[in-house]
Symmetry: C2
Subunit: 226 residues, 2 copies
Amino acid sequence: MKIGILGTGAVGRTLATKLIEDGHEVMIGTRDVVNTLARNKADGYGNPPFTEWLSAHPSAKLESFSDTAAFGEVLFITTAGLAALNAIDLAGKENFSGKIVVDVTNPLDASAGMPPKFAVTLGNSLGEQIQRHIPEAKVVKAFNTIGAHIMVSPQREEGVPDLLIAGNDADAKKWVNDLALSWGWNSTVDLGGIENAYWLETFAMTWIVYAFNNNSWNHAFKFLRK
Amino acid sequence: MKIGILGTGAVGRTLATKLIEDGHEVMIGTRDVVNTLARNKADGYGNPPFTEWLSAHPSAKLESFSDTAAFGEVLFITTAGLAALNAIDLAGKENFSGKIVVDVTNPLDASAGMPPKFAVTLGNSLGEQIQRHIPEAKVVKAFNTIGAHIMVSPQREEGVPDLLIAGNDADAKKWVNDLALSWGWNSTVDLGGIENAYWLETFAMTWIVYAFNNNSWNHAFKFLRK
């Protein structure tokens, strides 16, 4: 199907690569196409210029946020968390209506360096902010609780982890569940409505704090149901 | 060794039972001994009166918070989270100095019914509040991320979970680690200093939200390190 990904960073690229492998048509959206194509240096996280990724994945299209949001039957939001609402505004709220929107963002403020600071409060998680911003969309918080490379390749040496998700629409969560299982996740753990996105965003901080304290980037959580 | 447990609820009783089985001398502290012994009905969580537990565990002593804190070489705080600082005041801050203090509390406000509301903000977790309140104590946040019966009997049908801990004192965390392993935990996952207690308290909410949404009380998390 046609999938639009907002954001050209490591998360957007990793998801795009996998979705193309899966046979989907993928468009990636950016704030300024000319600017994104002109960059010739690694970004602040050490990711190579986007053009390198694009030349290795010629079937992918890079377009504006609005073209991408209009194109996708399903949309992934992978921008910097604190830029997500503005990206949606630039993309045009109407382009999200009725669609499954997978919110992969985290509310991280890296303005004072690493590790990033957590930048939302209870009742105002990014997942909730995004759902309130595009009330006609079927927002599912997912894939935000682990590093990008684990999202699409979850199998660990020590076992197969489980993916936390939250959202208001059961069919949208079913779609994300099926995608996650096809990528090798053991299961999805449905935490309920989008008001529970806060616990997924704090869960991401658990991953991040452990990562920075231990210089570990390959850990994940398995859920034991009983 | 001599262990003091502040709090007579399900968590305090469960830990006391296990620590007695382990061969420790256990004293349980309460706000008002006469009142606790006089209760003859189940509490708000359906726990039977404390005297039932006490008559089944005659080696345990029930005393005031202050006698209990003075008695214990290691102390566990298992009161209602929002009552913890007051319990420490009643116990006498000086009785915590230099001791390992295992903080099992969660910042839950059940005044509007179940499920309880999360009642602290980032930078002000109960673990941090308690450590700031008794700066001479070696506070370790631990055992707060799962239901009481899992604390002392972690083995699940689907595997052996791992226990998140946080605290400033390495020796105190080592003591908790050894205790957890002796109770059957796969490992402890050290999240760093007590400033990370917030992520353990939000992690507890992940457990609680799933529990209430699914009427599930036996789930736990396994940590895949690689």
